[in-house]
């Protein structure tokens, strides 16, 4: 169901669309292995692209000349020690950093070829297309149903039946429906931490985004909930592009197709995950992955 809208929007954004519509089909047939390999090819479309991005908190330079291509319907993991700029980079992708006073971006970030930081960009629309899941589960002080319906309602959907359908679909996608279908009216605070995080994912899915940014989504969860979320990421990537920041290298290895390594604001290395964890090019990456620091 996501399929048609996706391809449609890509066409609308004037990409060389003949290539990706093809890959999209191939992907659904071929499954995971193919999807990983396809990144080494130039076959898939580029959904997000950062080009020589610098970022400043007041005078502190948090990102230094970061360039990366994020392909459609893939999972990209960003790893690195604390304070290396990976979360900052993630937040530049849907302009959440705009909320912090005295920050500045240089360089160019494009979504489907159009500049994110352009003059006429509509922030509300951008964040609808690029959703975000945060480090700690942050459900709103409302019922489970209201939490999921919050986004669609914002964007003008008031039809009760359609909302119900959307809530069910999003909760099913986020693998929470079976657990909560009888208690949709209960406060979201009653759920466990892992359930709350899956609710937050459902809440993002309900606005039908194209890209989902995840900022250490499992750092506040127990191993079992973490497993559920990782499983979920694997399922979601057939229809969404996912960028995930994580502290946990094993997690990056498990869930992602591509991995980027950040250090002190620099993007040291980007490669397919299998290559990154077996034959990293840069010695710093190797040291980090082998646990020599960080």
């Amino acid at each position: 169901m996501e399929h048609s809208t996706r391809t449609g929007s890509a066409v609308a954004d004037n990409d060389p669309s003949d290539i990706h519509s093809k890959t999209g089909e191939e992907r659904t047939i071929e499954g995971k292995r193919f999807a990983v390999d396809s990144h080494s090819d130039v076959l898939t479309s580029v959904r997000l692209e950062a080009d020589h991005v610098n970022f400043y908190y007041d005078k502190f330079k948090a990102l230094k000349d970061v360039s990366i291509c994020i392909h459609d319907r893939s999972v990209v993991a960003l790893i690195g020690p604390s304070g290396c700029g990976k979360s900052t980079f993630l937040r530049t992708l849907n302009r959440m950093n705009d909320l912090i006073p005295n920050t500045r971006v240089e360089g160019k970030i494009t979504l489907d070829g159009s500049d994110l930081y352009g003059r006429s960009v509509d922030l509300v629309g951008l964040r609808k297309r690029v959703g975000m899941v945060f480090q700690r589960p942050n459900p709103f002080p409302m019922s489970i149903w209201d939490n999921v319906a919050y986004g669609p309602r914002l964007h003008g959907q008031r039809n009760r039946a359609k909302l119900n359908e959307l809530v069910e679909r999003s909760l099913t996608q986020s693998a929470l429906w079976e657990e909560v279908k009888d208690s949709l009216r209960k406060s979201a605070f009653d759920l466990s931490g892992g359930q709350q995080q899956r609710l937050c994912i459902a809440r993002v899915l309900a606005v039908e985004p194209e890209v989902i940014l995840m900022d250490e989504p499992c750092s506040a969860l127990d191993p079992n909930s973490t497993y559920r979320i990782e499983e979920l990421i694997g399922e979601l990537k057939s229809s969404y592009t996912i960028v995930i920041v994580t502290h946990n290298m094993q997690q990056a290895a498990r869930v992602s197709d591509m991995t980027g390594f950040f250090l002190k604001g620099e993007l040291v290395e980007v490669a397919t995950t299998s290559k990154m964890f077996t034959k990293p090019v840069d010695s710093r990456t190797e040291d980090y992955i082998q646990g020599k620091f960080g």
Binding site: N94, M96, L99, P101, D122, V124, G125, L126, R127, K128, G131, M132, F134, R136, N138, F140, P141, M142, S143, Y150, G151, L154, H155, G156, Q157, R158, S183, R185, K186, S187, F189, D190, C200, R203, V204, V207
Partner: protein, 699 residues
């Protein structure tokens, strides 16, 4: 902790003699600790004792009228305190029906809240969510300062500036354009009425609501904001749908605290309400008007309590005090409960299916009621206009506003899903955010205007009206108010001598030993005491001290002021003693000091700044307190130094001088008001510095 420290000490020395000495010292330490704990407990319990004492003494004093009139005091329409006197032909008397006063109290409070809550919450949103730090910090300080300006100053300012303005401009305008609506259907006064009283009350509770709501909004985690904005909410949508929802119980709590204050407020209202008991009657639209003089319970007390006609009259008045006390206790209790509930729910408390549905339906019903009510009011006005002038007078101001509102509601239903919906949302967001800014501007503007006009009128008279001279009985024009200035200082000193020790020691108990049920109740009692109207405390002091002794007017006044100081000092001390890091305590105890020793030599010095702050804030509150002093009839026109006698004070002076025909009365009142505001300003600024010092020490 003291236990383990003394054990360690006892085991240390090796000789038997030294061991005996050490264990004796340890035993003594334990005893001192126990004494210390129980002594602070005694001071902390003072709040519970005071609450119970006020309830009991007011009940005893009002018993004669409870037996005489029963429930008539809350249902009766007639108020005639003069006893029957057949010789002069007066056949009825001693009739105490207080419905008109209850109506006045409720009406003025409701008007005040309708104005103050939207303005205050809007201003709080601006301060907490929108304004950059550079703007919000000074404005927040201004708001806190204004919460401490004495009510008598507000009242006097309203009498001098608001009453003429409302009487000549605002009310005729309302009457002209909204005259068909019952609330504005008759204009009987020249500005001394329910509306002006409600407006000045709104101005008084505004800083209060703003300050608390801002604190509530600041506690909303930024993750909530980010989640909403990350999903494509506009800034206003994030504030409205998520931030306000998260803080809703806290804001309702703030509103209730404001309501408690408005219900019990005396001086400002008494001066401007016009003092005529008026009740609405069905069938007479004009009788519902806000533009007619009224009376409130507390202003009745202020007018009649100092010189009652008969013991029965006195007891009827005391019954009003009891009523006020009960109502404010209930309102404040609910408010605290709500704030507490927020904390509990955010911890993850279950809300049942039914309660969620109930809440949702209540919210939508309320919403609909408000919209229907507003629409009905404007449509009614329009219909009456059409009847009166046929179609020619259709488009008056009222009708235009009404159609605009109805159109807006319909438009809001129709618009979702349209192509320009996004533009509409952005417009709404921008408009609402600037509306919040306008609220902040209006609130702060009104307050700055008040301060400036007090300075403008009070400053010169401070220099020219012989304020600092002794009073002159023969030539009042040449006399000054030195007796009132000296009296205020004496009263403040006597009140602090009573209020500060109780507050500080009780606060230490709450901070150090108060994490149990006893501490919870004591804290709750302190919060309730904080909300008890000062006039009720004044009447309590009168029944407790003046009725049995027939003298000690000054002491009674000082006692009432001291009681008002206790909760503020106690809670501030508690908060700041809690801020002293645990590690300091542990370091001292680990060296073998007793708990008491640790308290005196380590914690109290570290918390000194905080305790000074609490005391200064309390002083700022009582320096301008008028109602309790009025209740114990503490006033005089000569210099008195003995607190057994009636002592003059600045705030009471303003109240007395306001209808003094002498040419010096008004300038001298302004001088008093200016002095009081200066005093409050100095106390508040000092308090700020004391806390800042303290923060450095812990940081």
């Amino acid at each position: 902790m003291a236990q383990s420290a003394s054990d360690y000490q006892a085991a240390g020395p090796s000789s038997p003699q030294g061991q005996a000495k050490a264990s004796a010292r340890a035993a003594r330490g334990r005893i001192i600790d126990a004494i210390f704990r129980n002594a602070t407990l005694f001071f902390a319990l003072s709040t519970v004792v005071l609450i119970a004492g006020i309830a009991i003494s007011l009940y005893i004093a009002s018993r004669p009228n409870i037996h005489h009139a029963g429930a008539y005091i809350v249902t009766g329409r007639e108020w005639d305190p003069a006893p029957a006197d057949p010789t002069s032909g007066k056949m009825t008397g001693d009739v105490y029906g207080g419905l008109a006063f209850i109506y006045g109290t409720l009406l003025t409070s409701v008007i005040a809240l309708i104005i103050a809550v939207p303005l205050g919450v809007g201003a709080a949103i601006f301060l907490a969510e929108i304004a950059p730090r550079k703007i919000s910090t000074p404005l927040s300080f201004l708001v806190e300062l204004l919460a401490a300006v004495p009510s008598i100053v507000y009242g006097f300012w309203a009498l001098q500036h608001m009453v003429p303005f409302f009487g000549s401009t605002v009310e005729p305008w309302l009457f002209k354009h909204f005259g068909k609506v019952p609330f504005f259907a008759s204009q009987e006064s020249a500005g001394q009425d329910f509306l002006v009283a409600g407006c000045i009350l709104a101005l008084m509770v505004l800083p209060f609501i703003t300050a608390i709501s801002r604190d509530v909004l600041r506690t909303v985690p930024s993750a909530q904001r980010e989640a909403a904005i990350g999903m494509g909410a506009t800034r206003w949508e994030a504030i409205k749908g998520v931030v306000l929802k998260y803080g809703s119980s806290g804001i309702i709590g703030a509103t209730m605290l404001g309501l408690g204050r408005a219900l019990g407020e005396t001086m400002a209202v008494t001066i401007v309400i016009g003092s005529q008991p008026n009740l609405p009657k069905w069938g007479i639209p004009g009788s519902f008007s806000f533009l007619r003089p009224g009376y409130t319970m507390s202003s009745l007390l202020a007018d009649q309590y100092p010189n009652p006609n008969s013991p029965l009259h006195l007891s009827a008045l005391t019954e009003f005090a009891l009523l006020l006390f009960i109502v404010t206790i209930v309102v404040n209790g609910l408010a605290r409960g709500l704030v507490w509930l927020t904390a509990a729910r955010m911890g993850g408390k279950t809300t049942s299916d039914a309660s969620l549905k109930f809440k949702a339906s209540v919210a939508s019903a309320l919403n609909a009621t408000v919209i229907v009510f507003i629409a009905a009011v404007f449509l009614y006005q329009g219909r009456q206009d059409v009847i009166a002038h046929h179609l020619s007078g259709l488009f008056g101001v009222a009708e235009l506003i009404g159609y605009f509102l109805i159109g807006l509601v319909l438009f809001n239903r129709f618009i979702p899903g349209r192509s320009f919906y996004l533009t509409y949302r952005r417009l709404v967001s921008g408009f609402s955010l600037s509306l919040c800014g306008a609220c902040a501007l209006a609130a702060c503007g009104a307050m700055i205007m008040l301060l400036l006009s007090v300075a403008h009128d009070g400053g010169p008279s401070l220099l020219h009206s012989h304020l600092f001279r002794s009073p002159n009985g023969i030539h009042p024009e040449e006399g000054g108010l030195l007796h009132a200035i000296v009296g205020t200082i004496e009263l403040i000193i006597a009140a602090s001598a009573f209020g500060i020790p109780f507050g500080v020691l009780g606060g230490i108990f709450l901070a150090e030993f108060g994490n149990n049920r006893l501490g919870g109740w004591t804290r709750f009692a302190a919060d309730l005491l904080n909300g008890v109207p000062s006039i009720v405390v004044g009447i309590f002091a009168y029944t407790l001290i003046i009725v049995p002794t027939r003298s000690n007017f000054g002491w009674a006044g000082a006692f009432a002021l001291g009681v008002l100081m206790i909760p503020t000092v106690m809670r501030t001390t508690e908060e700041l003693v809690r801020l002293v890091p645990m590690s300091l305590r542990e370091a001292s105890l680990a060296l073998g000091a007793t708990y008491t020793k640790t308290m005196w030599s380590i914690i109290l010095p570290a918390a000194r700044g905080g305790i000074v702050t609490g005391s200064l804030l309390a002083l700022a509150r009582i320096a301008g307190e008028t109602a309790p002093l009025l209740m114990v009839s503490c006033n005089s026109s000569v210099m008195v130094h003995n607190l057994k006698e009636r002592v003059a004070s600045l705030p009471v002076m303003i109240y007395v001088l306001r209808d003094d025909p002498g040419s010096q009365a008004i300038p001298q009142s302004w001088g008093c008001a200016f002095l009081l505001v200066l005093l409050v300003l100095i106390f508040s600024v000092l308090a700020r510095f004391a806390t800042r010092d303290k923060m450095k020490m812990t940081a």
